[in-house]
Amino acid sequence: MSHFDFPACRDSPLQDAPHLAAALGIGSLALKRDDLLPFAGGGTKCRKLAGLVERLAQTPADTLLLSGGATSNQVRIIAAVASQTMRACEVVLNAGPDSAAADFARLFGAVVHALPGADAWALNAAIRSRLKALSAEGRAPLVVPAASAADLPCYDEAIAEIVRADADVIVVAAGSGATSAGFLLGLDRHLAHCRLLAVSVDRPAAELRTVITRLLASSGIAADGTDMPRIMQRLDVEDRFIGAGYGVPSAASHRAVELAARSEGVLLEPVYTGKALAALASIAAEGGIARNARVIFWHTGGVPYLASSLAQLRS
């Protein structure tokens, strides 16, 4: 039995944001503060920890193995879980050894393998190599994927927390696609009229849609059945705010971080939530959000990474 209550990583505050709403020209805006979830600096990824720790307890795994990028919330949080559950952790990063994710992973005691610029194939080969090496040493490694159908129920259940707000639109940053896929399941069950605006932070819209479809299919939604079109039709994907790429702040995301800080005293960061808010601001300015729409901006966390961006904001 873990001494930290991982199921406590839910029921985050829903905060009215009238000043930010006014700045964006939106009638009603609330912030779902998953950044305040109580583990390893918070973030929506914390919601999957209860299920992960439960699954871990049923395996002999003694080493968690995962890959990620320079500002990966998954890397920070899983490294922390490994530390808290007394397991080893190894992280393969497609970023340098001095990246923020590498720093946090090492802080939690993980071993970092830095492969700057590595593509998905190189990361896979490195993960496989470490799997074999660890197994040869008699260890029991377990690969933790960035996105898994097993994670979807926790994001599905998160939607139940905002049913009373009766939102018309939820805005969320989308990387692995798992949060968006889970939210779509929750919307299908709880908020039939609400749309999901997924703001891609690293891949073209069509690819993100396919990834979300794959995750839904893996969760048991038939890819060629009638449920999939109904669930997917409420999804809008925005990919114009990726900027120079995953993990790279943009001028628009820096402006969005400043806007949230100066209007509501809320910290965002410029590579996930900052890009999502930049997208919302742009779409609202284009008239893409009805004046009377009730909007929820889902703060997915990542605030610990803001510190490394403050110097850029200053300039």
Partner: protein
């Protein structure tokens, strides 16, 4: 159960290729449900989202067991594994070389 692709076959190389393709197609369809439709022979499996990054590991492990080949770390590259056509050619090369 581990089987060698060459074991128990008496047809020509076209039969072998068909067998590799049919078995790999079936595996992908069963393991990665989004591929319930037909997967094109030259369609990028990773790029099109049919399989994810962890799915590559699953695919490689299955190829090793199903066709009794050994996949080295340096073999895990898109030139060998990113499309059905490349997978078939890769398995044929590995099998012919005795892995």
């Amino acid at each position: 159960m581990t089987r060698n692709v060459w074991q128990g076959r008496h047809g020509d190389s076209g039969d072998v290729t068909d067998s590799i393709e049919a078995r790999t197609r079936a595996f992908i369809r069963e393991t990665f449900p989004v591929a319930s439709g037909d997967v094109g022979s030259d369609e990028s499996l990773l790029g099109s989202g049919i399989i994810d990054s962890i799915g590559v590991l699953t695919l490689v492990t299955w190829l090793e067991q199903e066709f009794a080949i050994t996949v080295a770390d340096e073999d895990v590259v898109p030139e060998n594994l990113d499309t059905l056509a490349r997978i078939i050619a890769f398995v044929e090369r590995k099998s012919a070389a005795g892995s």
